[in-house]
């Protein structure tokens, strides 16, 4: 099967809200599809439809070659789901949570216990396995939640904003887990509000906004489309601002933006911009006090793609700082 996930024209309305307004998504088997979008874009709704929790009002979707509405039962046997909020039973221990899922999947009790122990070990939760999940930290809960979705060794895994609210360390750990799963042949659909996360993990990205896919492609294609990175420069000597500005304009072919704090910025479409700027500044005897390449924030992606700024999300946007 070439495509593990295939959705065409998905529509879902809640009252007057058109949560999905004709969404197409495909994920090749064994790859990661990143669904990128701000709060309220329709990410969770799409995941819930694909995971058989919600019926679409229009369009159709197949997971593992099975229709999510007609063959819902068989789809459920093939997928794992980690929802936006860690869905662990706080009053059960980590072990009990996993044993419960194993038992529900038809494993005899000893096999369910063995699988639970194996997963706890894989997620560095062995020591906490006997404690009620309610006592876990946010990162531990997420790991347990992810472990719970893996008990049945699903071929297709849905991760709805798996790292929202996690500290950078826990986020990195989770990324490694996802990479490991993909190496084992699992197809992953991951939603995120972070461009960086999609960039790190996804083979293909679909950007959604207001229930529509507004851009798609590989991370590189997408970054090229939205201007990739931004070069930021602050002259060491404020008096040199006009000359520095002229250098930036000449190299990038764009008029730089000047922030109120005296920071100049231009889009940097490829890797040659930074060295070229440095060379020209040196030639002209100009000094940059601060020079950085910053990855486009989701904000900027949306500004480029839609022409309007998204309302601020509840999390600060990630930036990829490259100090020079």
């Amino acid at each position: 099967m070439e495509f593990a996930i295939r959705a065409e024209g998905l529509v879902k309305t809640f009252g007057t809200t058109r949560a999905l307004d004709g969404v197409d998504l495909v994920a090749r088997t064994g790859t990661v599809l990143g669904v990128l979008g701000p709060n309220g874009a329709g990410k969770t709704t799409a995941v819930r439809i694909l995971a058989t929790l919600l019926r679409p009002d229009g369009g159709r979707a197949q997971v593992g070659g099975l229709d999510v509405v007609r063959d819902a039962g068989a789809v459920r046997a093939a997928i794992g789901l980690t929802g936006q909020y860690a869905a662990v039973d706080e009053m059960l221990t980590g072990t009990e949570n996993l044993v419960m899922i194993g038992r529900l999947l038809g494993l005899p009790r000893p096999a369910a216990k063995a699988r639970a122990a194996e997963l706890l070990a894989g997620f560095s939760l062995t020591d906490a396995g006997g404690r009620a999940a309610g006592t876990y930290s946010g990162g531990m809960r997420r790991r347990l939640d992810l472990a719970a979705s893996l008990v049945g060794r699903p071929g297709v895994l849905f991760l709805d904003e798996p790292t929202t609210g996690l500290d950078p360390h826990s986020r990195g750990e989770l990324w490694d887990v996802v990479r490991g799963l993909v190496a084992d042949g699992v197809t992953v659909l991951l939603t995120t509000q972070y461009l960086e996360e999609a960039d790190q993990l996804a083979d293909e990205i679909a950007v959604i906004d207001h229930g529509r896919v507004i851009a798609g492609g590989t991370p590189d294609q997408l970054k090229a489309q939205v201007g990739g990175q931004t070069l930021e420069l602050r002259p060491a000597r404020p008096a040199e601002l006009p000359q520095v500005r002229a250098v930036l304009a000449a190299v990038s072919g764009r008029e730089p933006e000047l922030s109120p704090t005296g920071l100049l910025s231009v889009p940097a479409r490829d890797d040659s911009v930074m060295p070229a700027v440095v060379a020209r500044l040196t030639d002209a005897g100009l000094v940059a006090g601060e020079l950085a390449l910053r990855g486009s924030s989701l904000d900027e992606v949306f500004l480029t793609l839609t022409g309007h700024r998204e309302p601020a999300t509840d999390e600060p946007n990630d930036t990829m700082k490259v100090g020079v």
Binding site: L53, R76, L81, M100, R103, L104, E118
Partner: protein, 268 residues
């Protein structure tokens, strides 16, 4: 690595009855094992019934019936019913909690019988109901309560309470599916259940109440249930109140079972 291949077997489109029962049992187990880790729940199930029984008996008893012993004999049925009716709302709180926390979605994304999360919860809550009732009966007996209708009466009372609680639990399921938070459910329990259970024959004889109140108490289904429970526990004429309470149970189930199921399936 444990070698567990689940994907190999052809996924069944419909879950068989036996498997469905196993899923229900597993989820009932889940709801019972929670008690181990949650002292609050133990409190709900054990300490609260005991506390009410002791308070009613030793605070009100003397004034109400001239002796705490006489009042215990009268009020035990009512205390059990009040506790049992309050407990039916645990189903709503638990379900709502599962929905808000995402546990419900996780369960529904598994290839299990659609009814299992609901059936498992209701079954576990009925078992808890029996536990609380047994505790109150045991304590009542220790404090001098004498079951006038013998062991059969006690068993009958337990059965009736379970049947009525089961009928009520569909209302509870409906509330649990529709409420926006577990706290709201608890609030509602307080505001609806308190007046409903107090304005009945549970704690005092209706004959002492003003006429308008008597008129309400007479038609309050809690009165029918309490009278039947009292007859089963203490002895006395049973037929009318038993019929009456069973009819109420049937009516509650007839109205709320379909509504609850529709709300439940609406989410499925």
């Amino acid at each position: 690595m444990a070698t567990v291949t689940l994907r190999a077997q052809a996924p069944a489109r419909r879950v068989g009855l036996l498997a469905g029962l196993e899923h229900t049992a597993t989820l009932a187990w889940r709801n019972l094992v929670q008690i181990k880790h949650n002292p609050m729940e133990l409190m709900d199930l054990s300490i609260q019934p005991v506390m009410f029984l002791l308070l009613f008996t030793y605070v009100f008893g003397g004034q109400m019936s001239g002796s705490t012993h006489a009042y215990l004999q009268f009020a035990l049925a009512g205390i059990i019913v009040q506790n049992g009716l309050f407990a039916t709302l645990n189903t709503a709180v638990g379900l709502n909690n599962d929905i808000q926390k995402g546990v419900f979605d996780r369960l529904r994304s598994l290839p299990i019988a659609r009814s299992a999360p609901l059936a498992g919860r209701v079954a576990a809550d009925l078992l808890k109901q029996v536990w609380s009732m047994a505790l109150m009966l045991g304590l009542g007996l220790a404090l001098g309560f004498r079951p006038g209708a013998g062991v059969l009466g006690v068993l009958g009372a337990t059965l009736l309470m379970v049947v009525f609680a089961l009928a009520m639990s569909w209302l509870s399921v409906l509330i649990g599916m529709l409420a926006s938070s577990p706290e709201k459910v608890q609030m509602m329990a307080f505001v609806v259940m308190f007046p409903l259970t107090f304005s009945s024959s549970a704690f005092v004889s209706p004959a002492t109440m003003p006429g308008w109140m008597q008129a309400w108490v007479k038609v309050n289904p809690v009165t029918a249930l309490v009278d039947a429970m009292r007859a089963l526990l203490n002895g006395g004429p049973l037929a009318a109140s038993l019929t009456h309470s069973l009819l109420w149970a049937a009516a509650l189930a007839a109205v709320f079972f379909p509504l609850a199921l529709r709300a439940y399936q609406g989410r499925a």
